[in-house]
């Protein structure tokens, strides 16, 4: 987009500015990713998960006794 050359000193700042903006953007994206992930992770565990875990446990115990 720009002829970014060290020859033109005024161009330096926009380049640095751009790099800084990109880094800030990366950090913002990182925060957003973690937020999305944590949002789900912080939901209470649905009841059917707990039931499932109990069920497979019982099944395992029963199978063990049977064998």
């Amino acid at each position: 987009m720009q002829s970014a050359n060290a020859m033109v000193t005024e161009e330096d700042n926009p380049e640095r500015e751009k790099a800084r903006a990109i880094r800030a953007r990366q950090r913002a994206i990182g925060r957003e990713l973690r937020r999305m992930f944590d949002e789900v992770a912080q939901e209470p565990v649905p009841q059917d998960f707990l039931e499932l875990l109990n069920k497979i446990d019982e099944a395992g115990q029963a199978g063990k006794k049977a064998s």
Binding site: I22, R25, Q26, A28, I29, G30, E32, L33, R34, M36, F37, D38, E39, V40, A41, Q42, E43, V45, P46, D48, F49, L50, L52, L53, I56, D57, G60, Q61, K64
Partner: protein, 221 residues
């Protein structure tokens, strides 16, 4: 953590359940989050997370005590995700109604109501880039663990993460319809809906039974 007894001998079976179960229980939230990030769709993601729990329970004796249980579970979940999807494609890749059930494809609108711009952009990445970025960027895994989970080299994960980050920025900055982080999720949802209407006139076919974010225009901050 690594004080758990050896799990190789069959006589140790009786000692496994409680300990292992408690740890599984603790990790369910992360499994759900990872599943959601892969599938997009909550219902499908929870099915996937539950399948993972069952698989993990069945193969609990292959887990090496003292190693990273979270990474082990994520590996199972990820394998399950891809094998489910392969199966779905094999079944009827041409059929829209089954395509609806393929994770990460046509069901993305289910997530749209709560989608931020970043989340939308994330859906456009390749599976490899998305999972690498999520594991490292959100899941808190090291590059090494992420590489083990994805069955690839550490360098591969690093470059996928780097490319994913660049791609996200390009998408977010390149698309004038995604100007800021402040835009409301419902706007984003509406946009996807209208886009879908354009692409798929019979969109109702693609929707399951959530039909709640379709016609109501309420703004949810």
């Amino acid at each position: 953590m690594n004080a758990r007894p050896e799990m190789s001998s069959s006589s140790s079976r009786d000692e496994i359940p409680d300990d292992f179960k408690t740890e599984l229980l603790d990790l369910i939230p992360f499994l759900r989050a990872f599943a959601r990030s892969l599938c997009g769709n909550q219902e499908m993601a929870d099915d996937l997370a539950q399948e993972t729990l069952v698989k993990a329970w069945q193969s609990r004796e292959t887990f090496v005590a003292g190693t990273n249980l979270k990474a082990w579970l994520f590996t199972i979940l990820r394998n399950q995700f891809y094998s489910d999807r392969r199966r779905a494609w094999r079944r009827a890749p041409w059929d829209q109604e089954s395509a609806e059930r393929i994770p990460g494809t046509h069901d993305d609108q289910n997530w749209a109501a709560e989608l931020s711009d970043t989340a939308r952009a994330l859906r456009t990445l390749s599976d490899e880039q998305r999972e690498a970025l999520i594991l490292v960027g959100a899941g808190g895994f090291s590059y090494e663990d992420a590489a083990a989970i994805c069955h690839c080299a550490v360098g591969t994960v690093k470059s996928r993460v780097a490319r994913a980050r660049r791609a996200l920025i390009a998408i977010l900055d390149g698309d004038e319809k995604l100007p800021s982080d402040q835009r409301s999720a419902s706007d984003a949802a509406k946009e996807i809906m209208s886009e879908l209407d354009r692409l798929v006139p019979d969109r109702t076919m693609l929707r399951s039974h959530d039909g709640d974010n379709d016609s109501d225009d309420e703004e949810e901050t």
